[in-house]
């Protein structure tokens, strides 16, 4: 009950102080508590009369003048000097004075802007280019934030990218980076196979198998083309990549056959 009274009296004080309600208007809102509230609110009004006491105007003005003079003197001490660097430093200190939330927001916006901008710029880069590490780093970030069951699709996409890069490098005669990129391509394919092992068998898995096998076929065609374009010293690496492609393609085909068999055994529908 007391808690309720405390709340009501606080509310009445607010209504009287801020909304200029009279005691009677306030009491109308709480008829049950009228008798108890009245003397309390009357005391409040009496005390509030003291709010009219103000310092002498001459004191207020004199202190203000003295005070502002000190502020001005301090201001002249801290004013930024002329020149680009001091001004920049002053602006930075202004940034520092911002609230933590504002600082974090600015940092996040800047980060997103810069990373987004560099990602766009790096999209068409090839191994050895200045921004290529941004491209691979952003791929790693994407992989990290992607759920496990979707990661296999991403590795297929990234394998396609590597293949495209190898093709372009062969056209441009940038042979030095082809071998490294072939290794990266192998890693992507290995990641695909590893995820397929962990996959639970269902209809969607068959679609993924088809996608992977299609990717292997494409890889084989592209690598054959690349092999024709590159000089002799690069040919063995391409040849090995084609052989690996065949081995891994067979592995995937075997996994697919096993899956189909398992689905038959469990009387589940087969999408083939």
């Amino acid at each position: 009950m007391t808690k309720k009274n405390e709340k009501i009296i606080d509310n009445c004080i607010k209504l009287i102080s801020e909304n200029n309600l009279s005691i009677e208007q306030c009491l109308k809102r709480y008829p049950k508590f009228k008798e108890e509230l009245r003397p309390l609110l009357e005391s409040f009004i009496k005390v509030k009369e003291f709010e009219k006491i103000n310092p002498p105007a001459i004191f207020e003005d004199e202190v203000k003048i003295r005070f502002i003079n000190i502020v001005k003197a301090k201001q002249s001490q801290v004013l930024p000097k002329k020149g680009i660097i001091p001004r920049f430093a002053a602006q930075l200190s202004g940034l520092w004075a911002m609230s933590t939330l504002a600082k974090i927001s600015i940092f996040v916006i800047l980060f997103l802007f810069i990373s987004g901008f560099t990602s766009i710029l790096s999209a068409n880069t090839l191994p050895g280019d200045f921004l290529y590490p941004v491209k691979t780093a952003s791929e790693k970030v994407i992989i990290f934030f992607t759920p496990n069951n979707k990661k296999v699709n991403l590795h297929i996409i990234f394998a396609k990218r590597r293949l495209g890069e190898i093709e372009k490098m062969a056209e441009k005669g940038r042979i030095g980076e082809i071998t490294k990129t072939l290794n990266v391509l192998e890693t992507e394919i290995d990641s695909v196979i590893n995820y397929m092992k962990d996959f639970e068998i269902d209809i969607k898995t068959q679609e993924v198998f088809d996608m992977i096998l299609e990717n292997f076929n494409e890889q084989k065609k592209v690598l054959e083309k690349v092999k024709e374009k590159v000089p002799d010293e690069a040919k063995p690496a391409i040849k090995k990549a084609i052989e690996n492609n065949m081995i891994k393609s067979n592995k995937i085909e075997k996994m697919q056959q096993n899956m189909i068999k398992k689905l038959h055994d469990e009387n589940k529908p087969v999408d083939k």
Binding site: E6, S17, L40, S43, V47, P55, R66, I68, K72, S99
Partner: protein, 184 residues
């Protein structure tokens, strides 16, 4: 009523010693601080001196002020409270030195009778306020005389909002009781 956002902006400008911002802050709080001090020391001249000190102290330490859940007004009133403590400490030492009596360190009680010597109609009210305990008296001064809000009072007194409301309720109940007894 000035919004908290505007006060924040003024304080950020004041930190860079912008005279206009300081001027606005001064006008916003000078009267509130003065009334608070006047009702604690009960002497116009001392109240003026101490009020001036509050603003100088604030100017010198505004660099370190941060809006970490503490409104600017609470910070300013805390400075005023510290200045009052110092004043009472000096007064107590002076008193002890002059009289040689090692007692009456409770000078922090409000001595408002001095303020309204000529206003006899206010005497009963002042006596009634003086009969309240320290915390109830503080809430009455902060809220009804200096015009602070519950949130500001709670930060200055380091109490929850609920505790401030409870103190306010009890203070008003006691005040009306003392006043009605006086009348009867």
């Amino acid at each position: 009523m000035v919004s908290e956002r505007k006060i924040r902006r003024l304080v950020e400008r004041a930190k860079k010693y912008d005279p206009e911002a300081f001027s606005e802050l001064y006008e916003l709080y000078i009267r509130k601080i003065y009334r608070y001090i006047l009702f604690r020391v009960g002497d116009y001249n001392i109240a003026e001196d101490l009020t001036e000190n509050v603003f100088y102290k604030a100017l010198n330490s505004i660099d370190g002020f941060k809006f970490k859940k503490v409104p600017f007004s609470s910070w300013l009133f805390t400075i005023a409270g510290n200045i009052l403590k110092n004043y009472y400490r000096h007064k107590a030492v002076e008193k002890k030195y002059l009289s040689g009596i090692d007692k009456d360190l409770q000078v922090s009680n409000i001595d408002v009778q001095l303020v309204f010597e000529k206003e006899l109609d206010k005497q009963d009210l002042i006596n009634a306020i003086n009969r309240l305990n320290t915390e109830q008296r503080q809430v009455i001064i902060f809220k009804f005389i200096s015009g602070l809000k519950n949130k500001e009072v709670s930060k200055i007194m380091k109490k929850s909002l609920g505790a401030v409301k409870a103190l306010q309720y009890r203070a008003l109940r006691n005040l009306s009781s003392y006043l009605s007894k006086k009348v009867s």
